[in-house]
């Protein structure tokens, strides 16, 4: 009873039915008993009235003739009615004539005078008073009192019987309800079992079988719908409605089993959207999501349309599962039973074409291309993990070699990937380990031949890879977000060095440091440079920041602002590799630059190639007319030097003078060079 709420449904049902039945039965039986007893009492009252009337009529002679003995005799007849307790006859003037008592109840009382007509229960007796008439005249009356033992006995027996019936019925109803509840409760229990199984096994493919059309049937339907939805969510990507990674992996596993058994090839195609991050950042995540949806649909249509769709057994088109979104902007496609690896390439081509079409999203015309990597079973791997990894590696290679293309996996790629991964790892620790150093290439004054300063260049000496050139590690640093830290370090180190050399007497020493795009566009650049100057103690005029053309030209308004700030501080600004980028000449006059550095490609053939010579000359003239100084990079021969000197090039830099050197070597070089010069001048 106490555990009603905790009990199982079946038991609850049993309790309820039994309780209800019991309750109803008790009420019914109680009412029945009451009604029966009430009827009995009525009956008894009627009977006693009849008795009174009969006896009274019988006594009319005795009453009229005042025959006491006769009257007494008549009353004695009441012995026959065992419940009569006492009786009396009265004469016509209401006087008591004769009385009667049942022996055992003596001395019961009778009224001394005849009362008014009465029929009813007084205390524990049934009383009747009846006035008698004979031939229209009142001749007296009769009084009879009877006990209620009859009722009591009857009630006792009745209740006994009713109780037995009640108990028997209750027991029967318990059995009946137990039997019925089994039938009713069974579907609920089945549903419970199903729920438990789904939860335990995480198997969302199970469904409940509907057994009735009542509310339980509705629940089952609802439950099945929910399972459908969960199934969908569990196995499909919400945004694109493609399969999710988990589902794809399962499909891949089962496809591999089949492919192994049937000795077939299959292809795993891995792709992502180039520059997706940039699109997301610039146009917002809403557009990003729309783009993903569009490309996903295109991908699906494209794959479905091809002849090589995965179908396994008699399942409904698992083409739905053979295209998946792996997360972010990465997608995977599984193609079963391909005859030759190059067929996968055909599919990849189609995908390329389909996904590269510009998309109109929310008013923006968005361009994107996929980078695709393909791995073939069993050629490129026997197992799902390896195939996926290799497809990913191939995709990365495609990216590296110029996006918007596909690559079939090749063993060597792995080495590259490995190497790249390793390089990344090493680079992360490089700064801490002090593997990064600055080398300095001297800048020579074009007129005097004196050393005016140096350009600082980063070098990396790694235990594993040896010397790694900046061309290799700078892009990696940019990609892994290390460039800012490196750049700051380089800046600080260079400034300190310059200050040191200045203090050492190496004349006012100008140091040139390259600034990467990322560094230039970061917030707080000015602040950082200020800090560096303060920390190093270097005067701002002694610092030259070298920026590439493209860097400067991009976001020109903002760039101008930043450059102006830097100029205000007193820095010198140089445009590196001038002539090779997008340069817009109109910007030149707006940008607060001090130097133009002519790219080495022009200097290389300046003495042998007329065009190079013309261009170089033109640059020098242009710069001078704008009050800018010119630095020539990559001067290697005396002829080049002579030519440049002749054109009035302000500064020169190159192997003719020196390769970039470590600081100690530079000092030595400086001393030696100055001595020579002094000697020359002497």
């Amino acid at each position: 009873m106490l555990n009603y709420l905790e009990a199982s449904i079946g038991r609850k049902f049993n309790y309820t039915v039994t309780f209800t039945t019991g309750f109803a039965l008790c009420i019914a039986c109680g009412a029945f008993v009451l009604a029966d007893i009430s009827l009995l009492r009525e009956h008894m009252a009627r009977n006693i009235l009849v008795l009174a009337k009969l006896t009274g009529t019988n006594s009319s002679g005795a009453l009229i003739f005042e025959d006491k003995i006769g009257a007494k005799d008549i009353l004695m007849n009441l012995d026959a009615e065992p419940h009569v307790v006492s009786a009396a006859l009265y004469t016509s003037d209401d006087q008591l004539m004769v009385r009667y008592f049942r022996k055992s109840t003596f001395p019961a009382k009778v009224p001394e005078r005849l009362p008014e007509d009465y029929l009813g229960y007084e205390g524990n007796q049934l009383i009747v008073v009846h006035r008698l008439k004979f031939d229209g005249e009142a001749i007296g009356g009769i009084y009879i009192a009877s006990d209620l033992k009859g009722v009591e006995v009857h009630a006792y027996h009745l209740i006994k019987i009713i109780a037995i019936i009640l108990i028997v019925t209750l027991i029967f109803s318990v059995f009946l309800s137990t039997w019925i509840q089994k039938k009713l409760v069974r579907p609920i229990l089945a549903l419970t079992k199903l729920v438990n199984k789904v939860a335990k096994d995480n198997d969302f493919s199970l469904r409940a079988t509907k057994t009735s059309n009542d509310e339980l049937g509705v629940v089952m339907d609802g439950f099945n719908v929910m399972l459908d939805q969960i199934n969908h969510f569990a196995f499909y990507d919400h945004l694109t409605n493609l399969a999710n990674r988990h589902t794809f992996n399962r499909l891949l596993d089962s496809s591999l089993i089949l492919a192994r058994r049937n000795k077939q090839r299959l292809a795993v195609i891995f792709l992502d959207l180039d520059n997706f991050k940039r699109i997301n950042d610039t146009l917002g995540h809403g557009i990003g999501d729309l783009l993903l949806k569009t490309e996903a649909k295109r991908l699906l249509d494209c794959v479905r349309g091809s002849d090589y769709i995965a179908r396994i057994g008699s399942e409904k088109s698992s083409g739905d599962r053979s295209v998946a979104r792996f997360g972010g902007d990465e997608f995977a496609v599984l193609i079963n039973d391909i005859r030759h690896p190059k067929n996968a390439g055909i599919v990849a081509d189609r995908i390329l074409a389909a996904l590269s079409i510009p998309v109109l999203l929310d008013g923006y015309n968005v361009f994107t291309t996929p980078s695709i990597g393909i791995a073939i079973f069993p050629d490129d791997g026997e197992d799902a993990d390896i195939l996926l990894k290799n497809a990913d590696t191939a995709m990365y290679q495609a990216k590296k070699e110029g996006k918007g293309s596909f690559r079939l996996y090749h063993q060597d790629m792995n080495a590259n990937a490995h190497k790249r991964l390793s390089l990344e790892e090493q680079l992360r620790k490089a700064l801490e380990r002090g593997e990064i150093s600055l080398h300095y290439q001297p800048l020579i004054n074009g007129y005097t031949g004196k050393i005016k300063g140096a350009e600082a260049l980063m070098r990396w000496e790694n235990s594993v890879f040896g010397t790694v050139s900046p061309i290799e590690f700078i892009p990696i640093a940019e990609e892994i977000g290390l460039i800012t830290k490196l750049g700051e370090w380089a800046l600080l180190t260079a400034c300190r060095q310059a200050k040191y050399w200045s203090d050492q007497g190496l004349k006012p020493f100008q140091i040139a440091v390259n600034l990467s795009s990322v560094q230039f566009h970061q917030d707080g650049l000015v602040g950082i440079i200020e800090n560096v100057l303060v920390e190093s103690g270097l005067a701002a005029e002694n610092l030259v920041l070298e920026l590439t053309e493209s860097l400067v030209m991009k976001d020109s308004e903002k760039s101008i602002g930043a450059l102006n700030q830097l100029k205000t501080m007193g820095l010198q600004l140089a445009v590196d590799d001038f002539g090779t980028g997008y340069s817009s000449l109109s910007y030149l006059k707006r940008f607060p630059i001090d130097y133009l550095k002519i790219d080495r490609s022009f200097i290389k053939d300046v003495t042998t190639n007329l065009e190079d010579a013309s261009i170089t000359t033109a640059i020098i003239t242009l710069a001078h007319s704008l009050n800018l100084q010119v630095v020539a990079e990559g001067v290697e021969t005396i002829e080049q030097e002579a030519f440049l000197k002749g054109k009035g090039c302000d500064k020169m830099q190159g192997y003719l003078y020196s390769k970039p050197m470590a600081s100690s070597q530079f000092e030595q070089y400086y001393k030696a060079h100055t001595k020579v010069l002094c000697k020359l001048l002497e």
Partner: protein, 200 residues
Amino acid sequence: MGVLNRSNILLGISFCEYLRSIERSLLPIGLMCVLFVNSVPSAFADSIRIREEKIKVAVIYKLLKFVEWPEESIRDGDSFCMCIVGKNQFGNTLDNLNGQHIKGSVVDVAYPSSIEQLDYCHALFITGADDGELREFLRQDSSRPLLTIGESDGFIDRGGMIGLFTKNNRVRFEINVKSAKNNGLAMSYQLQRLARKIIQ
């Protein structure tokens, strides 16, 4: 109602009790009454007799209630003819029956002078100790439902239906049910119970 009211009948039923009630106040006289009931001076004896007569009349009146006449003989609205014959010593007492109600009819007391006049009677009270010329009459059964009441000895033996007598200072009666039945009359069993003697 005069003589025949309730209290009187009550007192009358046992005139012995009545006498006794007088005796209480007149004890010696009462004793003498009991002892010398027959030798009392005639005036006193007369008064006793009158009492007895009154009682008999009351009894007769009550008796009538317990006899059933056939339907045709008493109709609603008709009068009930109570005939008196014989040496009438009852005087006016019987007249008191006049106007009483019997079975929905009004009693009419009559004193027929011939047997033929008896045709109209419902009940006939033959007074006196001797039936006289009606002896023969009594023995006959006729189709005429006529209740015969007498106070002579052996009245019912001679064919009379109800015989009154005094015993132990009480007026009692004996009945001849057979005779009544033969004349189309029915006697209530109550009479049978109360009667001293019954001829079936």
